[in-house]
């Protein structure tokens, strides 16, 4: 199960945790997200942005 902290020690809210699980984002990936919240907390906004960026970075093969 996912922990309440990323590997580099940043807090992940329950909502971010749920989104990560639903969208198959690993703990490793989470650690790479720059949190915009207090004390670099990863917020819903940050993870949704990450998912958006990921889509752009890996376009579906035609």
């Amino acid at each position: 199960p996912m922990k309440a902290k990323t590997e580099n020690g940043n807090f992940i809210s329950p909502l971010v945790r749920t989104i990560a699980k639903a969208e198959n984002i690993s703990n490793e990936e989470l650690s790479s997200i720059a949190g915009s919240g207090e004390a670099k907390r990863i917020t819903k906004k940050d993870i949704l942005q990450y998912i958006e960026d990921r889509k752009v970075a890996t376009p579906k093969p035609i």
Partner: protein
């Protein structure tokens, strides 16, 4: 004189910004033309809640036999004393602000503040003298006043606004309240509870029209039980007659004109921001729809000039004004500041039963395209509510079906204005439904209904 920060207006926006500024090491002045503490402390939140407390105590007394307490003889609300108490509480709070400002070494400048073309602040004192002040940063926090409709001109005798409604000399026999927002509803409940025959007229299809429809409907029923006559889809067209003997023409929901008689009309149709004569034009500050335009950190288009509270867009609430003041000042001080998330702002109506809410209504959530899960728990199923004899109302929670995000909370009942804080903090901490279900709420409390409502959304509710 030169300051780091001058705040114009000492309401919950202004005085809080000033104190926070002083805490952060700024040299701060506040300009105020009237009482310290603004509308909130003197003519708004605090004196109304004081009146409402008297009404609540009176309600308990009316029903004391239900609790096994007998009264021999009559129970009489003394309207003059109730108003006097309310004024006393307001004055005490205002004096408290004076103390806090002094303690934080904030200079208080009495007078009417106005921006000048060169971004100074000109203060017109009561004696007619004018003084110019300079500051690196000027925050405008001049608040708002009761909105006047052309057909409801407030003369303080036949048609009155909020202020007069707080200080009537005697209890009117009958009153028509126009507008059923939080303020109109609170006055309607207060006067009705003391014995005034109240008619509440609302233009929209439901009272408390910004609330979730189920909340509005419940309050409509509660008000009717409380002998308030509620007219929705209706509007007051005109008022005729003389003081104490008015004929009010109301267009009812069928579009017909009904003539209602009453002693006094309270116009509670919203507010008008105080943006006149404060030098916005001179300094070139941009407004839109009568409100000062600001960015996420309350900066206007003019560098060094900021605006917060009731004169900017957003809900006109004291806690919003204070939060905006703190956000604005912390940003000025160079701190890392997150913008205010307006989807977590709670709104309360301190009637009996109380109303409290945060975030999206069911309709708004659907309109915004969310697929939602809704959980509702009625206080009729709550042990504490039964023990307290307060079974009216419910907690309704709205979650996004996809990830379980808490989108909205809507409550009616005793103490819900204290209970909403849990949901505000929970949303701030990005809860999902799961954590609310698993947070062990104390038994027996009204707050258990929050846990149960969340459980209801996920088909895990125990007590219904």
């Amino acid at each position: 004189m030169t300051y780091d920060l001058i705040v114009v207006g000492s309401g919950p926006g202004g005085y809080v910004a000033a104190i926070r500024g002083a805490q952060l090491g700024m040299n701060v002045a506040v300009v105020e033309r009237a009482e310290l503490g603004g509308i909130c402390l003197n003519w708004g939140c605090i004196p109304t809640k004081s009146l409402l407390k008297s009404a609540q105590v009176f309600d308990y007394m009316k029903h004391s036999a239900d609790y096994g307490i007998a009264v021999e003889g009559e129970i009489k609300p003394d309207f003059e004393k109730i108003v006097e108490r309310s004024r006393g509480v307001a004055n005490k709070m205002s004096a408290g602000i004076q103390y806090l400002l002094k303690k934080n070494k904030v200079t208080v400048i009495n007078g009417f503040g106005k921006l000048t073309a060169d971004k100074k602040l000109e203060v017109l004192a009561e004696d007619g003298s004018k003084t110019n002040y300079e500051a690196k940063h000027i925050i405008l926090a001049t608040g708002a006043r009761s909105r006047e409709l052309p057909n409801l001109p407030q003369d303080g005798k036949t048609i009155i606004g909020y202020r007069k409604a707080l200080t009537l000399e005697k209890l009117p026999k009958s009153m028509i309240v126009v507008g059923s927002g939080a303020i109109g509803s609170e006055f309607a409940y207060f006067y009705s509870s003391l014995g005034t025959q109240v008619t509440l007229v609302e233009f929209m299809p439901n009272i408390l029209p910004i609330e979730d429809e189920e909340v509005s409907k419940q309050m409509g029923r509660s008000f009717k039980k409380n002998k308030i006559k509620v007219m929705v889809n209706s509007s007051v067209e005109s008022v005729e007659g003389t003081e104490g003997d008015l004929k009010v023409n109301i267009k009812n929901k069928k579009g017909e004109i009904e003539v209602h008689e009453c002693e006094i009309v309270l116009s509670a149709v919203g507010i008008t921001p105080n943006t006149e004569n404060i030098g916005l034009e001179e300094a070139g500050v941009v407004t839109e729809n009568g409100r000062v335009v600001v960015d996420d950190y309350f900066r206007t288009n003019v560098e060094g000039v900021y605006a917060i509270g009731d004169i900017v867009a957003g809900p006109a609430l004291a806690h919003v004004a204070s939060a905006e003041g703190i956000c604005c000042v912390e940003k000025i001080a160079g701190m890392h500041v997150e913008p205010i998330d307006y989807t977590t702002i709670p709104g309360c109506t301190y009637t009996t039963p109380e109303v409290a809410s945060m975030g999206l209504t069911e309709k708004a959530a659907k309109d915004a395209g969310h697929e939602i899960k809704v959980g509702k728990f009625p206080f009729s199923a709550s042990g504490k509510a039964s023990a307290a004899g307060a079974n009216e109302g419910f907690v309704k929670l709205i979650f996004d079906a996809k990830y379980g995000e808490l989108l909205g909370a809507h409550m009616v009942g005793a103490n819900v204005t204290e209970m909403i804080a849990e949901l505000v903090t929970a949303r701030k901490l990005e809860t999902t439904g799961h954590e609310l279900i698993k947070a062990i709420h104390p038994h027996p409390t009204m707050s258990e209904a929050v846990m149960e409502a969340a459980a209801a959304a996920y088909d895990e509710v125990i007590h219904i």
